[in-house]
């Protein structure tokens, strides 16, 4: 049991023949992900050769990939074409779309969000590390080896912070059920609340670790949701407590404007929702232990 991805996931890689797509496709295959092929318009009918020597078919359209059995896609398409690639997957009937590409224009993502409302597809990202169910399926760019099958559901707005969290939950012996990097963009697919719902309903997830950062109000809304709907122990962390106001720190979403999106507001919301707050980036694993009363 896990969330969104498992051994039954059949993945197609959009942009497989690009440098980044090709590199990470190899990494995913090595982790054991069932990558069935790639989509690269104009290269349909050729084969892509993995480092292992295996060959995977390249299709011109996602429609063909779906006909071949794909039920999830990962997008490594350059920013100007990425939203169109996501829309293509939605329209072709792909149910889980993980978008790694960063620097996608906000307006493009608004159109994608709009299309998502009409369809039951799930988008993770853009500008995110992806999703992994340890030991079963990795879709994204996270280092697979630090993960360990276990009980913590991890959801995070930032990439390397997730790796810290994974590393520590592995080290304290809990391991992870599924880890979802939702990405740092202001307009994105899954948000904290969506992931919290999934973790709450997943019997294999025993604890939840939520890694937020300054900017926006999705952490505050997530805390409200936790207060009312989440019964599992939750630990949390907010990055950017010492960020200056009005400056955008890397992530397009990480900007404090006026009283909106401050670390203070987010930490207070966490405390009031009964979340165990990690004191610093070294305390993530222990915070989960404390949250679950260990």
């Amino acid at each position: 049991m896990s969330v969104l991805v498992d051994k039954s996931t059949k993945l197609v890689c959009q942009g497989l023949t690009g440098k980044s797509g090709s590199f990470h496709a190899n990494q995913m295959l090595e982790y054991g992900t069932n990558l069935i092929g790639g989509v690269s318009p104009g290269k349909g009918g050729t084969n892509w050769k993995a480092n292992s020597g295996d060959e995977k078919p390249i299709w011109n359209t996602v429609k063909e990939a779906v006909a071949a059995g794909a039920n999830a896609s990962v997008v490594f398409v350059p920013p100007p074409f990425a939203a169109d690639a996501i829309l293509e997957s939605i329209e072709a009937g792909i149910k889980l779309i993980v978008t790694i590409t960063e620097w996608i224009p906000v307006k493009d993502m608004l159109e994608v969000k709009h299309a998502l409302k009409y369809n039951d597809a799930v988008l993770i990202g853009p500008n995110c590390p992806g999703i992994i169910t340890p030991g079963e399926c990795k879709i994204g760019i996270m280092p697979g080896f630090i993960h360990k099958p276990g009980t913590v559901g991890v959801v995070s707005r930032s990439g390397t912070m997730t790796y810290e969290a994974v590393n520590q939950t592995t080290q304290v012996g809990l391991g992870q059920s599924t880890c979802i990097g939702i990405g740092g963009d202001p307009v994105k697919g899954l948000d904290f609340i969506d992931c919290l719902k999934l973790f709450q309903d997943d019997p294999n997830t025993k604890q939840i670790l939520m890694l937020g950062e300054i900017g926006g109000d999705s952490e505050e809304r997530a805390c409200e949701f936790i207060k009312n709907h989440v019964t599992k122990p939750v630990a949390g962390f907010i990055a950017g407590t010492h960020a200056p106001e009005g400056k955008r720190l890397g992530h397009a979403g990480a900007i404090v404007q006026g009283s909106c999106g401050t670390a203070k507001a987010k930490l207070e919301a966490m405390a009031s929702a009964g979340i165990t707050i990690a004191e610093n980036t070294n305390d993530l694993g222990n915070a989960v232990l404390r949250a679950s009363g260990k």
């Binding site: 906000v106 010492h242 960020a243 992530h251 979403g253």
Partner: protein
């Protein structure tokens, strides 16, 4: 990306937004000549920060002697406009938004006057919490909107619109009624609001603020001051906007970082930070602030080198960090993922050797091949301090910085 007021108006003009006539000038002579067209005119210094009218113009960047009180002036004659321009051009304007620094005034916008009946606030921006753009209006025009939000939130009206269709007539009408407009004012408001929304959507703007939007005594609306910023990710489809970028307005280090796809933000402290990943970089800034406190240390910057931190990128990052004279030590915090720690260590050591780094360097590594990486650093013979974890790294950096500063003095 930001643009100057006069540039945003040039963009809005293409959409037939209601604007007063205006002329951008870079010399006092041009200003006088431009002002002759209007008789009475408004002399507006063009810098990227707001609050110009209430700011102060200084003669030198150190903000010692006052040249002019206020960065926006009403001139009753071309001569007066010229005199104001002479007090502004090449001088330094400090406002609530520029902080402790002043911004040099290189351009002046000379604008016609109009008869103002009342002033409104109007802006268009993305509401992140619902992932939809919204229009925000208020009867409190000309005021700082965050002040209004705090003191009289009931005077601010927000309305989301569909980015695929723009602002609907009934939506613009609702806003007009909320502002208490009547008759022909409503028609003119709807027209103006729809124009502004169209300009916002067409140009991939991420903020369009008109403050004040004025109602003239003739019941027309007029964009008096406007501010536009644009989605950096979408600039590739607006080359004419992209070329408006005024690098002189930006921190040179940040410009170099942007040009090299690094995320860099200058802060006020003394510990240079180099981290991979935006979240971890933020957390590092936090940790330096917390753990460095007892040694009076604070982060000098936010810097995310991104996923592929090779030797070239590390060197570039070091160079950007070292441009800042207040940096007393550098803290490197890397979680090796796809990029392995030994490769990163190699890059860091190579950079140290080539750049002949003279300030303390503290390195914390974790993740893929961490042991190999640590070993390489230990055996390099270079003065690189290894840290066990981030708190340890912060403490060591803070201490080393304090010692370096003492030694340097």
């Amino acid at each position: 990306m930001k643009v100057h007021e006069y540039q945003s108006k040039q963009i809005l003009k293409k959409y037939n937004a209601p604007l007063l006539q205006g002329i951008p000038c870079t010399t006092a002579e041009e200003v006088e000549k431009a002002a002759e067209k209007f008789g009475r005119s408004v002399v507006k210094s063009q810098i990227y920060a707001g609050g110009r009218g209430k700011g102060t113009v200084y003669n030198e960047p150190e903000l010692k002697t006052v040249s002019l009180d206020g960065g926006v002036k009403l001139a009753s004659s071309p001569q007066e406009a010229r005199e104001y321009a002479e007090c502004m051009l090449g001088k330094y304007l400090q406002t609530v938004q520029t902080g402790n620094e002043g911004k040099q005034v290189n351009t002046i916008y000379i604008e016609d006057c109009c008869n103002i009946e009342s002033e409104y606030y109007f802006s268009i921006l993305l509401d992140r919490s619902v992932a939809a753009p919204m229009v925000m209006v208020s009867t409190e025009g000309g005021m700082d909107i965050e002040e209004v939000a705090e003191e009289s939130p009931e005077k601010i009206f927000k309305l989301h619109f569909n980015p695929l269709t723009g602002l609907a007539d009934h939506q613009a009408r609702l806003l007009a009624y909320q502002l208490g407009l009547k008759g022909g004012q409503i028609r003119n408001f709807i027209k103006t609001a729809k124009i502004l929304v169209k300009a916002y959507l067409d140009t991939d703007s991420d903020l369009l603020e008109v403050n004040p939007l004025v109602l003239t005594t003739e019941d027309d609306f007029m964009v008096l001051d406007s501010k536009m910023t644009f989605d950096d990710n979408a600039l590739y489809r607006h080359p004419e906007i992209a070329k408006l970028r005024d690098k002189s307005e930006e921190d040179p280090a940040e410009v170099e970082a942007i040009d090299n796809n690094l995320a860099f933000v200058k802060l006020e402290g003394n510990i240079g930070c180099m981290v991979n990943g935006a979240g971890l970089a933020m957390a590092t800034v936090d940790a330096v602030s917390i753990f460095g406190k007892e040694f009076n240390a604070a982060p000098a910057n936010f810097l995310d080198v991104g996923g592929g931190a090779n030797a070239e990128k590390v060197k570039l990052a070091f160079r950007i960090i070292l441009n800042d004279p207040s940096v007393d030590a550098i803290l490197v915090n890397i979680f090796g993922g796809i990029m392995k720690c030994d490769v990163i260590a190699e890059g860091v050591l190579q950079a140290v050797r080539e750049m002949e780094l003279h300030i303390p360097l503290i390195v914390r590594l974790a993740g893929t091949n961490v042991e190999e990486g640590k070993k390489m650093i230990a055996e390099s013979g270079l003065k690189v301090i290894a840290a066990e974890d981030l708190p340890d790294g912060c403490l060591k950096a803070a201490k080393a910085a304090a010692e370096y500063r003492k030694g340097a003095k």
